[in-house]
Symmetry: D2
Subunit: 148 residues, 4 copies
C-alpha cells in the first residue's frame, strides 16, 4: 500500500494509424488514475462530490511523452503529490513498464470548487489529513516531491 | 432544409493501427448526429432536458459497417425516423460520401424518460408535432421509412 | 479458466452529463474484450495480425442497454461465441455485476480479412481449433449459444 | 485565410457528469486542429506521412483550462506557431467563443521523425517554407508569437 498505482494495458483502440498511443489518450489514463486515487485514498468519489455541490476540476494538465507506447504494453501509472496548497494540489503521474522504463510523465493542477458559489474552496480538513498521510507514505519510500 | 445531415471528416485519432475507423467511433458520429437533430429539429437540447428531469437514453444501438473508413474521408451522416412510438422512436443513420457510397447504416432506439419517477413517459406533444413534420418532410423527398 | 471475462469499472469520463454511461462507450468495453480474447484465447494479437496483412474487422455491432451504468460500477464483461462460420464469427458480450444483474448485451459479427487481396479469408485452422476448444469449454459450463 | 481556425461545438458526450468538458477531451480538439492544419497549410496529411515512413509525434502537450466548457458551446480553435526549430515546432492552440472569451490555451511540441531510422529528422524544406509563410501571415495580423 505504497504509491497509488493503476495498471493499464494499452489497447488497440487507444492507438492511431502510426501504431502508437494517440496523443490525447494519455490524459484518459491520467485522469482515471486521479479518479481512482480520490476514491481509494481520499475516500471521496467524484459522484458524491458533485452531489455535495463540490468538484475538483483540472486547471492545468501537461505531459511529456518520453517513449512511444504500442498496443499490448502494460504500464503502471503512479500518482504522487508534488504540491498541496490551500485550495489546489499538483499531481505527478508517470507511466512505467515492468523494467522501470518511463513512457510518460504528466502534471495536473486541480482545484477544489464549491459549486453553490462557483468559487475555489479550501480543501476540506478530512481530505487534507488523508492526503498528507499519503504524501508521508510516499516520502517514507524515499520519494521526494519535485516539479516537472 | 430536408433530411438532417451532419458532415464529419474522419480524423486520424478516430482510426486504429489498421488505418481505418475504430469500430466504436461510428457510434460517436451517430450519437452526436442525434444530439444535433434534437437541438435543431425538435428544438430541445439534452442539457435542458436533463435540467427538466427528462432524458432520452438509448435502449438499442446497432451498426452495419459497409465500407472501411479512412482518415480524411468526408461523410455526410443523415438521420431519418423509421418509427415513432408513444414513448420511443427509432432512428436510422447513414454515412455516405459525396458520390453516394454508403459506409455505414446504424439504428438507434431511444425512449423518453421522466427521471422524477424513473419511468418511460409519453413523447411530449410539442416534440411529437415537430418530429411528425420532420418525417413528412423526409417522406416528401421520396424517402420511405424502412427497418434495417 | 472458463468463460473469458474482463472486469471493468465504469469511469467518470465514460459517463455523460446525465451521470450514466455515454451510449458509444459500451462498444469500447466490448471491442477491448474481444481484443483481449484474441490475445489470450486465440493466441494472436491484432498488431501481429496486421503485420501479417490480416485483420478481423467488425461488420456488425449492436447492443441492448438493459440497465443504466453509473461511475464506479464494476461490470464483468463476458465473451461467448454464438456462431463460428468459415470466414466470420459472432460474439455475444454481456456486462454483469457481482449480483448477476445484466447491464448490457452486445453482439459483434467479425470477419477475417486477407489485406493482400482485400478479401475475406477462411479462419486459419490453428485459430479455429482454439476457438472450438473455447466453445466446448463454455458449453461444458452449461452455456448454450443463442442469438440475441 | 488568416490564422488557421477550426470551429467545434462541445458535444454532450465530450462532457462528464459535472456537465462540463471532460479534461482529456480538449486534447482531442487540439490534436485534430493540428491534423487539419498539416493538411490545409503544410499540404501533407498524416496518412501520407506514415506511408512515407515519416511522422510528427507529440513530445509535449499542455493545457490551461481557463473557463469551463458546457455542451452546445461553440469554440473557434486557433493555431499559431510559437517556435519553428530544425526538427521540431511549438504550437499554441486557443479556444475562444464568438465574444472573444478564451476557454483554453494549449501548447504542443511536435518533432518530425524518420521511421526508417527512428530518429528526428530536419523539417523538409518544402514544409518549412509553407510554415514560414503561415507564420508571416499570422504576424501580419499583429499576432506575435509568445510562449505560454
Amino acid at each position: 500500500m505504497g504509491i497509488y498505482t493503476v495498471k493499464r494495458q494499452v489497447s488497440w483502440g487507444d492507438c492511431d494509424p502510426a501504431g502508437i498511443l494517440y496523443t490525447p489518450r494519455v490524459f484518459d489514463y491520467c485522469t482515471q488514475t486521479i479518479e481512482g486515487w480520490y476514491t481509494e485514498v481520499v475516500k471521496v468519489d467524484w459522484m458524491t462530490m458533485i452531489r455535495n455541490k463540490q468538484g475538483s476540476p483540472t486547471v492545468h494538465a501537461s505531459c511529456d511523452y518520453l517513449k512511444p507506447m504500442e498496443p499490448g504494453l502494460e504500464v503502471a501509472v503512479t500518482l504522487r503529490i508534488d504540491k498541496l496548497g490551500d485550495t489546489s494540489m499538483t499531481f505527478r503521474l508517470e507511466g512505467e513498464d515492468e523494467g522501470g522504463a518511463i513512457y510518460f510523465r504528466a502534471k495536473y493542477v486541480s482545484c477544489v470548487i464549491d459549486f453553490t458559489r462557483n468559487q475555489a474552496m479550501e480543501i476540506p480538513a478530512d481530505w487534507r489529513s488523508k492526503i498528507q498521510a499519503y504524501m508521508s507514505k510516499c516520502a517514507a519510500q524515499g520519494d521526494c516531491p519535485h516539479p516537472i
